[in-house]
């Protein structure tokens, strides 16, 4: 049972998109925590 090229592409693109969004969300959380005095 071989994975199709489309399914493989979906997996790779979805994973890469999530990994690309992660640092942006981390930075947003950092700014939010810092403004709220909750960083440390």
């Amino acid at each position: 049972m071989i994975i199709s090229a489309d399914a493989l592409e979906l997996l790779i693109v979805a994973a890469t998109a999530l990994a690309a969004v992660a640092p942006i969300i981390l930075l947003i959380l950092w700014v939010k925590d810092r403004k709220g005095g909750n960083l440390w």
């Binding site: 690309a20 992660a22 981390l26």
Partner: protein
């Protein structure tokens, strides 16, 4: 020297020097506000969501994740990288536990303390044996991986690379304690995620998924097979191994104590979500090797080779930065958490029960230093058998899953049953490791441990008052 290195030694030295200075300075800068024992060990118990999420994610991304994920994709195909990404389930499953730990033990310090208060001193000593064996196995494997990877990427001698990465991590952990570890983890998380995304985007745009699929199908079709048996077995064992590692280890408990109230659950959940794609993104680039006509001499070098092919020297530098960040983010966390365990459960628990807070604060720094030197001494001979110790620990850590989880939620767990579960789970798991294979050790250990916890508690339930955890932890 290593003539197959993808970078020259002078570039390697430049990156090593820059990052070493940056981490040590940052460790000092972040740690200058750490006051007292709680400030040093638990960052004052006020870590927010951003830093909490980043430290949980970056600590779980080890050199294994960034280097072994491409290797696994190259050897086991689809399931190699997808199976590896299931390691995130351990982080997500720990999220409710982190909330519960913070609630039951608002003044707690270590996972060992919990076992002592919950099950008594015999269980505590068995647990410490398991936990310290695992911690040393992980520390040595990380230290050795540092030396091996720096040598493979830059040609710098194994002993020099290993010594530098250990010295840097010990230095900034000593200077700033958990604040330094968590602060540097945040930057390391950003570097790791950005680095692997850049390499992945280049791989997709330069090679394309269709071409990659076609070349793999022609040369190594089993890598795209969804019913590849060895890979499916790896998937289940990896899942249980990961849960065992996270549930028992003080690396994750110390963060549960250090996070601000209300942060633990969200931080571990988001960290798990962010960790999930990392092995897939880092791993799939290996599948481009056939399309790029790369001749890969050793499977563990496939990631850097593909990056160097796609990006030239820049790609190799990027891989080096990602690997260095991944190594440092795990090594520093493990050093800090293991020293907490040694300080609280060995030094105070066994040697100096009446030590004052000032004495403990001083001893904490000595423990970090001694632990670093011990790790360095064990890594020096470069015995591969030592690095393989980590595989053995699957049998050990999986035996703790039930005693820890049931102990946190179930009042009636029998303490002797929990002790026996850890002992027999480990023994039978180890037997399975040697008789059957590595891929069943964690599975057998967890099954034996679960059966014993359930059976002994059903036959002889014991009553436990949750409040005892809070009262004793204050002392």
């Amino acid at each position: 020297m290593n003539n197959d290195a993808v970078l020259d030694a002078s570039t390697g030295w430049l990156i090593l020097a820059l990052f070493s200075v940056a981490w040590i300075w940052l460790g000092w800068w972040l740690g200058r506000r750490a006051k007292g024992l709680e400030g040093f060990m638990l960052a004052g118990r006020k870590v927010g969501l951003a830093l909490g999420t980043a430290t949980a994610m970056a600590t779980w991304v080890t050199s294994n994740t960034t280097m072994a994920a491409p290797q696994l994709a190259f050897q086991m195909g689809m399931w190699g990288m997808v199976g590896y990404s299931l390691g995130s389930i351990g982080l997500m499953m720990f999220a409710p536990l982190a909330k519960r730990i913070r609630k039951l033990m608002p003044h707690g310090f270590t996972s060992g303390e919990f076992i002592r208060m919950r099950y008594g001193r015999t269980a505590w000593r068995v647990f410490l044996g398991i936990s310290l064996f695992y911690a040393f196995g992980w520390l040595v494997s990380l230290g050795m991986a540092g030396g091996v990877l720096i040598n493979a990427l830059t040609g710098i001698d194994y002993h020099v690379g290993m010594s530098v990465i250990l010295a840097v991590c010990v230095a900034y952990t000593l200077l700033g304690g958990l604040r330094a570890v968590i602060g540097t983890d945040f930057i390391q998380a950003l570097l790791i995620l950005s680095g692997i995304v850049i390499i992945a985007v280049l791989a997709i745009s330069n090679v394309g998924v269709d071409r990659m699929h076609e070349a793999v199908l022609e040369e190594r079709p089993q890598l795209l097979n969804l019913l590849f048996p060895a890979a499916i077995m790896f998937l289940f064992n990896n899942l249980l191994f990961g849960i065992g590692e996270i549930f028992h280890s003080n690396v994750w408990w110390s963060r549960a104590f250090a996070f601000r109230e209300g942060v633990g659950f969200k931080a571990y959940m988001i960290a798990g979500l962010f960790w999930t794609p990392v092995p897939i993104v880092a791993g799939f680039v290996a599948l481009t090797a056939p399309a790029l006509n790369l001749n890969v001499p050793a499977a563990d070098m496939v990631g850097p080779m593909v990056a160097a092919e796609l990006l030239g020297v820049g790609g190799a530098v990027l891989v080096f930065i990602v690997v260095f960040s991944a190594l440092a983010s795990s090594l520093d966390s493990l050093l800090a958490a293991t020293s907490d365990l040694v300080l609280t459960d060995i030094y105070k628990g066994h040697l100096k029960p009446h030590a004052t807070e000032e004495q403990l604060a001083r001893a904490a720094r000595w423990v970090v230093l001694i632990l670093g030197i011990a790790t360095w001494a064990l890594c020096w001979p470069r015995l591969t058998t030592l690095a393989e110790l980590l595989y053995l620990t699957g049998a050990f850590v999986a035996s703790t899953i039930w005693p820890v989880a049931a102990g946190l939620y179930w009042k009636h767990v029998n303490p002797n049953g929990a002790t026996l579960a850890m002992l027999l789970g480990t023994a039978i798991g180890l037997t399975a490791y040697f008789v059957v294979g590595f891929y069943v050790a964690a599975l057998v250990s967890a099954a034996v441990s679960m059966s014993l916890v359930l059976l002994t508690t059903w036959l002889a339930p014991r009553e436990f008052e949750w409040a005892a955890l809070n009262q004793e932890a204050r002392q």
